[in-house]
Subunit: 323 residues, 3 copies
């Protein structure tokens, strides 16, 4: 059935369970044999545009591109002082040096694929929700665009997470997946939590989301999940527990709680003895998640990080089909 | 006749009409077939040294080198905290960490070709005019040097501009080319304007330069052009209109005008209905140039940007001949 | 005999004279023929992690990796805002975003070899001496690690220095090597001086170290050298004079002298007429070392810099043996 799925035009979000399963399977094939399609991308270039810093995402995307024989070129626009104008019709007599529509069009004419990271402001809810920066790149570049985390989603992370769940689940029934809020000292975007929810539900797993009151996520991403405010109840019989901080969505970008009792330790797993723990990294140890969990046998965090390479490779490989 | 032109030693300025025509023709060949000379630069390395930030220039040079099979290595010396000492005989007991003569010699021993961006200070006219930093790299590196914009010239941009003019001109007589000053809020270098004038005159086109009084460019670059202070008169019957801001040259580095009537809109083209508009990018929209021009059919700016790749490829390919 | 030496597990310090000689010989082979082992590293990736800035080290390591057919990926973690937590058990509720043990493990799973630069604080002597940051990368990455300069050593520089000495010594007896302190205005790490002493003694050369009182280096590195506080006496009959500033080791990180009479000029060589002068670069001219020496025939500094490529290539080639 995989052969009748249309190749991706862009990779910005969850599309369908068949598409998701196809990407997971392709990623696992590449994990076994990273150089399988070394010739597929020869002579093709992917531009990796970072409006925000990155380590794992940047390196895993570069490696994925190299595995496919492509030339990856990284542009740290945040660090390289290239402030983009976002407003249509703006009179650019202040700090911005280039309009996103011009920059996107040039980059679109230089590369075969663009991969872009653009975090939310966390101050303008509607602009963030519209994924404005990201959609401008899609609109003006004219070439396939891969999200390296947008204002609202982090689909490559979520694909890597689903690969990891599949690798660690041999049960016949659906796994019980729990997404739990963890404490943090900074206002953190919703993208990882949104995307994890979207993909976990989309892949037809059973999802429970737990967080302090006020931390409800955008329902666009969580519809179909069980919301349970009592963390200990949510964790009962969990197979996979995904830990992530996010700032409030309703009181947009606010920090409402730093309650350390939400940080998982072994004692939280009394009714979920075999549960595995996931986190997208970077993790603030002993704030978001305890040393004992991260250094113990429940942790899948390194496996998730490794799978980022093959998630990106499967996605880029799929995008290459249309070129 | 092209086959008797000597290969370039360095690429820092306009050399001759035959050399210019040879590079344009080679660039157009590469535009048709970017991988034509994929083996030519195999195993060769180009070091791209940025003392000032860059997006288009950096990426287009990297792509040009990759098209020729070379390994490009980028050094953002401005961002990476490597302050170079420029003064001969200096006692280096202040902020500079390495003398340009040592750095240039090392880079010259590491690479096969160096490409360098070094903006002017706009405060020391004679030092800027002598292209001091640039000439030190030429002197001490001992290898071919490509200008990625020096204090006084931006020849790769100008080559891309001439390629674009050739692509858009099928007339039998010389095209009428107009270089018009446009407003800006910052003090901008003269390099693009100087080089455009030098190349346009060198390629034997008809050039009119128009700007507010006081914005006269260095005559070294403009000798042979018509200087016309009335912009509307200058634009009459224009075939190509190149828009660029620059700061004053006589009152060196000063901003003398931000008169917004100099910004081109459709109403400026009543007597030049078929004129094409050019700009090197990045452009500050609605300050230097209006949305209606940039988004309309007169605009060649994206074509110019794309041609940067093939301009660089033609130049690097020529420099490889001597290695 | 070379064929019975075990391949390196990591490259962080001097190991043995046979290992040293093997690396020198291999480097000289690569200098003659850089592309000899172009296929050896194909498909392998080296991650070059800079916690501190670098020019020569970064480029020479990239070139060495390219010569071996590897893909080098550079991460300027200092500039890219990725503050690592170093303390075990820390509650990460301040500025650090990722624990070194997590970052090192991820990088270890992404690359085949890691190369790391991590300077000392010069404020915490015991932590610096333990090469803490460096040892954490060795411990948690699980892959071969190359030092690009640690808190205490700079072994790739020292290997390049020994290659340079061998290239310039045809005498039958041991050369007399002098390591002389030179003035500087900043507090400089001990790594280059430590390593040069360690390697010069390890390669069984005759070593005299001269410096103002109070600048004694850590005896761990200098045991076996002659310490001579009178610079002119130390220089007598020298064959090679290595110039380097370092801050005090006993009064840790302090600047005790900036006495300019310690800066070498031609007049210092009256009793060492054929002596060659070495420096690792970057050098502050006319502060650490005079123009007349650097620009004269005694200077080997450019040769040392060039040999950095082949030192790195020999080391990485050796590390590839175990993969």
């Amino acid at each position: 059935m995989a052969n009748i799925i249309q190749p991706l035009k862009h990779f910005t979000k969850f599309e369908s369970i068949t598409q998701g399963q196809k990407l997971i399977e392709q990623a696992l094939i590449y994990k076994e044999n990273p150089n399988l399609d070394k010739a597929k991308g020869a002579g093709k270039r992917i531009g990796c545009i970072f409006l925000n810093p990155s380590l794992r995402t940047r390196v895993s995307t570069q490696l994925a591109a190299l595995n496919l024989g492509m030339d990856p070129i990284v542009l740290n626009m945040d660090k390289e002082g290239w402030a983009l104008e976002m407003r249509d019709g703006a009179v650019m007599n202040l700090g911005t040096v280039e309009h996103i529509k011009d920059a996107a069009a040039v980059l679109g004419s230089y590369f075969d694929i663009l991969a872009i990271r653009a975090f939310p402001s966390l101050t303008n809810k509607e602009e963030d929700r519209s994924d404005f920066i990201f959609s401008q790149f899609v609109k003006y570049s004219g070439i396939p665009v891969v999200s390296l985390e947008s204002a609202t989603r982090h689909p490559l992370q979520s694909l890597a997470d689903q690969i990891t769940i599949q690798e660690n689940w041999s049960g016949k029934s659906k796994p019980k997946v729990v997404l739990t809020w963890g404490p943090h000292i900074k206002a953190i975007p919703h993208a990882v939590a949104n995307s994890f929810s979207e993909w976990t539900l989309g892949m037809d797993h059973d999802l429970t989301i737990t967080h302090p009151a006020g931390y409800e996520l955008d329902e666009e991403f969580t519809r179909g999940a069980t919301i349970e405010y009592d963390q200990s109840k949510a964790l009962e019989d969990a197979d996979f527990v995904y830990v992530k901080n996010w700032s409030a969505f309703n009181e947009y970008g606010k920090i409402l709680s730093t309650d350390s009792s939400w940080m998982l330790t072994e004692s939280h797993f009394q009714k979920a003895s075999t549960a595995k723990v996931m986190h997208c990294l970077p993790v603030r140890r002993n704030l978001e998640l305890s040393d004992e969990i991260l250094d113990g046998s429940r942790s899948l965090v390194q496996q998730q990080a490794k799978n980022r390479i093959f998630a990106a490779q499967a996605v880029i490989s799929d995008l290459l089909e249309q070129l």
